[in-house]
């Protein structure tokens, strides 16, 4: 190995580090955005009202939760539950679909020498775009409930950007771990079902001690709050932003460290 490094003729030695792979994959963005877009197109190609199914699915879920639990919160519970469900869905979709990304792309990975992160970005684009149709529900709620539009909308947009940014490293992290631990996918499915109830998606903490505890020590609660709060006209707390900021910095560092360690082996585990 050392010999090749000192070789003066070694003009094309590939750099196999995870960071290099990540950067090389990222700069192919034209390709993976197009591929991700067509993944969604292909999904709905033969359906009658394809893209409308996601918002419909969200709406039916919101309706059920609102009918049963809406009374607890009074006034704005439809908006609270509605936004909660839509933004929670994004978290849940990214977490549960990520561990399978490399397995799904196995044939391509073993046939063409491309950055592995390319396939992660492609899947991330596809699942994000597919989810984005659910935002129609949020717009509907804003219009129907007469929610405020102004500074808070900008903050909501900022919160959404933070959510998308964090989903990116989470996707890569779970994709890598999912290759090494095939059980992860099923574990996360079970976990996210539990977390749906353990996160203030359709309930608010109020005076309940357990609920307050959950809303404080569950990171998902903070991610939810920095997007939903501003949509409803509520300023998120500094704690909310602090937790999100910590994840935004530490998460990518941990992910890249792991990716640098595992990049070589990933392909052998497929």
């Amino acid at each position: 190995m050392n010999e090749s490094r000192s070789d003066p003729n070694n003009r094309h030695k590939p750099n196999n580090s995870g960071t290099f792979d990540f950067v090389a994959g990222w700069f192919n963005w034209r390709s993976w955005v197009t591929l991700g877009y067509y993944d969604v197109v292909a999904l709905y190609r033969r359906t009658l009202i394809g893209p409308i199914w996601q918002p419909l699915q969200a709406a039916s879920w919101i309706l059920g939760l609102w009918v049963v639990f809406g009374g607890e919160r009074g006034g704005n519970s439809l908006a609270y539950i509605g936004c909660g469900v839509v933004f929670w869905q994004y978290i849940a979709i990214q977490v549960t679909s990520s561990p399978n990304i490399f397995f799904a792309a196995r044939n391509l990975i073993l046939s063409v020498n491309r950055p592995l992160s390319f396939f992660v970005f492609r899947a991330y684009t596809a699942s994000s775009l597919r989810w984005a149709t659910q935002l129609v529900v949020v717009f509907g709620i804003i219009a129907f409930m007469g929610l405020p539009i102004g500074w808070n909308s900008l903050m909501a947009l900022g919160g959404l950007v933070l959510l998308l940014y964090n989903a990116l490293w989470v996707t890569l992290l779970l994709a890598v771990l999912g290759v090494r631990f095939p059980d992860l996918q099923f574990a996360l499915e079970a976990l996210m079902r539990l977390m749906f109830f353990m996160t203030p998606v359709f309930w608010s903490p109020g005076d309940d001690m357990l609920r307050n505890y959950l809303a404080t020590y569950n990171p998902f609660a903070h991610f939810l709050e920095i997007v939903r709060g501003p949509v409803l006209g509520i300023l998120p707390s500094l704690t909310n932003y602090g937790v999100v900021a910590a994840f935004s910095v530490i998460g990518p560092l941990v992910t890249l460290a792991l990716y640098n360690r595992m990049r070589h082996q990933l392909v052998f585990w497929l």
Binding site: M1, H12, T34, V112
Partner: protein
């Protein structure tokens, strides 16, 4: 051996070992692998996995302009070696230096989606192959012509006959412009007509590439396209050099094995 790569070498590999981890938790499968002919290694120490040594001590220099045929039975390590040369696998030990743009033709269907139209599939497969969009659009007419699709090009792939889909996949996968071309047996499918067409197209591609490494079970195909051969046997180089010399030895061994079948029932399934 000197480590410097001479100016006319396209690929140089030295001391290559490749261990593939076995994703098996049960022992009974290990017996199966051993019977097939893999070299199972159990690494010492806690938490180390069982691995199969797919390639062992490969030293190889491929000069620019060489046409090398990889031959060997199933499980000899042809595909792992090609993946190593392509940069898809990273060697466990040793190093590989390559010079020039490498393209691979390991499968005749690159990311084909049944629900999308032929035209969309050309674009998407091209993007997966890493071609710029402008180049894909420039290649499109020629791909459509090869695949004999006509107006079908704007219909989804699930409406195609098997032959049409095969031709399209093949045409896309072979629309490359490589300096070094690595091919794993891709002539297997399709009718007689298609086989002839496919061969002509791959022959043109191979002529355009300055360096070629072609893996195949078929001695005939290797003879036709290559001038040197490399015989892999259980992950090691059995012999390497002038094509007739290597292939004659290989065929002689195959013939002797047919007379006296090997004790391992699953070994040497290759033709």
């Amino acid at each position: 051996m000197s480590t410097a790569i001479s100016d006319n070498a396209a690929i140089r590999a030295a001391g290559i070992c490749l261990d593939l981890p076995l994703r098996l938790t049960s022992h009974h499968l290990r017996g199966t692998i051993a019977r097939i002919g893999g070299n199972i290694i159990r690494r010492g120490g806690k938490g180390k996995s069982t691995v199969v040594r797919a390639l062992d001590g490969i030293d190889l220099t491929i000069p620019r302009g060489a046409r090398i045929g990889l031959i060997g039975s199933n499980g000899a390590g042809k595909s792992p070696l090609l993946r190593l040369l392509a940069g898809i696998y990273i060697p466990t030990a040793g190093y590989i230096i390559t010079r020039g743009k490498i393209s691979t033709l390991f499968t005749s269907r690159i990311g084909i989606n049944e629900r999308l139209t032929g035209r969309e599939n050309i674009l998407l497969s091209g993007l997966v192959l890493g071609l710029p969009r402008a180049q894909i659009e420039a290649l499109e007419p020629e791909i459509i012509e090869f695949a004999e699709l006509g107006d079908f090009i704007d219909l989804p792939l699930h409406t195609y006959s098997t032959g049409m889909a095969t031709r399209l996949g093949f045409a896309i996968a072979t629309s490359l412009n490589p300096e070094i071309l690595l091919i794993d047996e891709v002539f297997g499918t399709g009718d007689r007509d298609f086989q002839d067409k496919a061969r002509a197209r791959v022959a043109a591609l191979m002529k355009a590439a300055s360096t070629l490494v072609l893996a195949s079970h078929s001695v005939g195909i290797i003879r036709r396209f290559c001038d040197q051969a490399l015989w892999l046997d259980h992950g090691r180089i059995r012999s390497c050099g002038e094509i007739n010399e290597v292939l004659d030895a290989y065929e002689a061994e195959l013939a002797s094995q047919r007379q006296a079948p090997p004790s391992r029932p699953l070994g040497r399934a290759g033709e």
